[in-house]
Each structure stands twice: as C-alpha cells, then as structure tokens.
Symmetry: C2
Subunit: 159 residues, 2 copies
C-alpha cells in the first residue's frame, strides 16, 4: 500500500460526479426518437445505440472487475437489445450495480494499479476518470446527433 | 478550513489529467481546415472556433480568478481572432498560465467554495472538474464535425 499524498476529491463526491453524468446521459438516451437511436449517424460514426452499448460495456462491468480484481476482456453487445427501453433498463441496473460496487472500494484502491480488460494497466483512479471522460465524449457526440435531428438536448450542467 | 477527508487524486495528477485533455483538444483544433474551423457547423450549433473561444474564456481566466479569489464575469471573445494559428497561440499561452496558477493552489483550496464568474458558487474541485468535462463535451462535438468533414480525429486516449 502506498502512502497517500494530499488529495483533492472524496470517493463519495467522485461517485456523485459520475452518477450525475450518468443521469444526464440517460436523459439524452430518452430524447432520441426510437428509430434514430438505432439508425441515425453522421460521417460514418456509430449510432447512439452503439455508443451507449460501449458505455454499458464499460461502466458497471469495469467497476465490478476492479472491485473483484478480476481481469476480463472487454465484451460489448453480448445481449441483443432491440428497444430503447431495454437500454434504459440496463442503464438503471448499471446505476445500482455501480453504487453497490463503489461501497467496496477502499481509499487505498484508487491509487493501486489494475489491468482493466486485460489491456489498460493504470491506477484505478485513472481508469475511473477515463470511464467518465469517455462517457462525456460520446454524449457530446449524441448532442450533435440530437441537434442534427432538430431536437434540443438537455443543458450540459443538468445532472 | 475544513478537515480533509480521505481523497483519491493528487493535485499533480489532476493537473496532468487536465493538461492531457487540453493537449488532445489542441490536436483537434490543428486538424480542422482553416475555413471549416470558422464556418462549419451541424444543426445550428456553434462553429468549432466558437466552441474553442468558450473554452479559452473558461480554463485559464477561471483558474486565475480562483487563485486570486477574484470574481469576474464570464467574458468570451474579447479579442477578435481571425486565424486558427491565433487560437493555437492563445491555447499555448493558457497552458502555461494554468501550470503557473496551479502551483498557487493549496490542498485546502480544492474544497473551498468560489463563486466562479459571479454565477457558479461551488467547491473549487467541482469547478475544475466542470472545466474538464465541458472541454471533453465540446471536443466530442468537434470529433463529429471532423468526421462529417471526412477527417479522422485523433484517438480519444491520446493525451
């Protein structure tokens, strides 16, 4: 275990920050028309359904892997979802699982290294920040899709 | 001064995280053709030049305000920039200013409240996470613009 240097955010606040982002992403999913969620894209990019599939394959499974120190390969879209409502249901399940697994993280864990998906060997705090950044990044793309569809996205600061 | 609870990231690592994102955003600016940087947009959104103007008006000025506890209103585009190279120059100036001002932050500062731009009264750590998230969000939009222009954006994990 490493000595803890002076640090700047508590686990509780970081979880709140993450779940705030996840709540916003959920609202963006909700705003997509069913058809466009699965079909609309720009410039050859993935549909928003595909982007959300990626996010679902990261957040909760990744945190579970971290908590259990169980290295598993990244596995996306293992279950075939065909309605937006199923994505929202998975999203809500992930929200609960994240809250539960977060409780199992100790303060020391954050600075320990974990080989996420057997590919990303970084301190756990960096892995978690990556989950959040990656979600914000893809959600930003979803905002453009919504705008292109003539739909006003939620305010970015709504959490 | 509040008691510091156990926390999960050091100021040094948070700065590195932020500047890593800023380096990636700089590469996205570089990839835009001059004309498209100022003119291209989707669905009535702002051009990438306008989005970068916003980011420039936040990052360094906001951190300076925090460090000096000087509440100033948000001021965007005070200087008229007409070439992409000028944006890159401002970006690099901001990089240096951020590094310098970061040194002046104490560990206690992060949990103190600051009324950013006279509008956002939050703990400083939350303000800083907001700067990063907001940049990732707008850069994600820039990725869609690049794709729509047939230009491949950098890998998201490149920092």
């Amino acid at each position: 275990m490493k000595t803890l240097a002076a640090q700047v955010i508590t686990p509780e606040d970081l979880l709140k920050h993450w779940q705030g982002h996840r709540a916003l992403t959920r609202r963006v999913i909700e705003l997509f028309p069913e058809k466009d969620f699965f079909e609309f894209s720009i410039g050859g990019m993935r549909t928003f359904a595909k982007l959300i599939e990626e996010l679902l394959a990261i957040a909760s499974p990744a945190l579970k892997g971290i908590v259990n120190r169980e290295v598993k390969p990244f596995a996306e879209g293992e279950e075939k979802l065909i309605f937006k409502a199923q994505y929202l249901e998975k999203w809500d399940e992930a929200t609960e699982e994240i809250n539960q697994n977060w409780e199992k993280l100790t303060i020391e864990d954050f600075n320990e290294t974990f080989n996420l998906f057997g590919q990303y060997e970084f301190p756990i705090i960096q892995n978690i920040l990556y989950f959040i950044d990656n979600e914000v990044h893809h959600r930003g793309q979803g905002y453009v899709y919504l705008r292109a569809l003539g739909i006003e996205p939620p305010f970015f600061w709504e959490r």
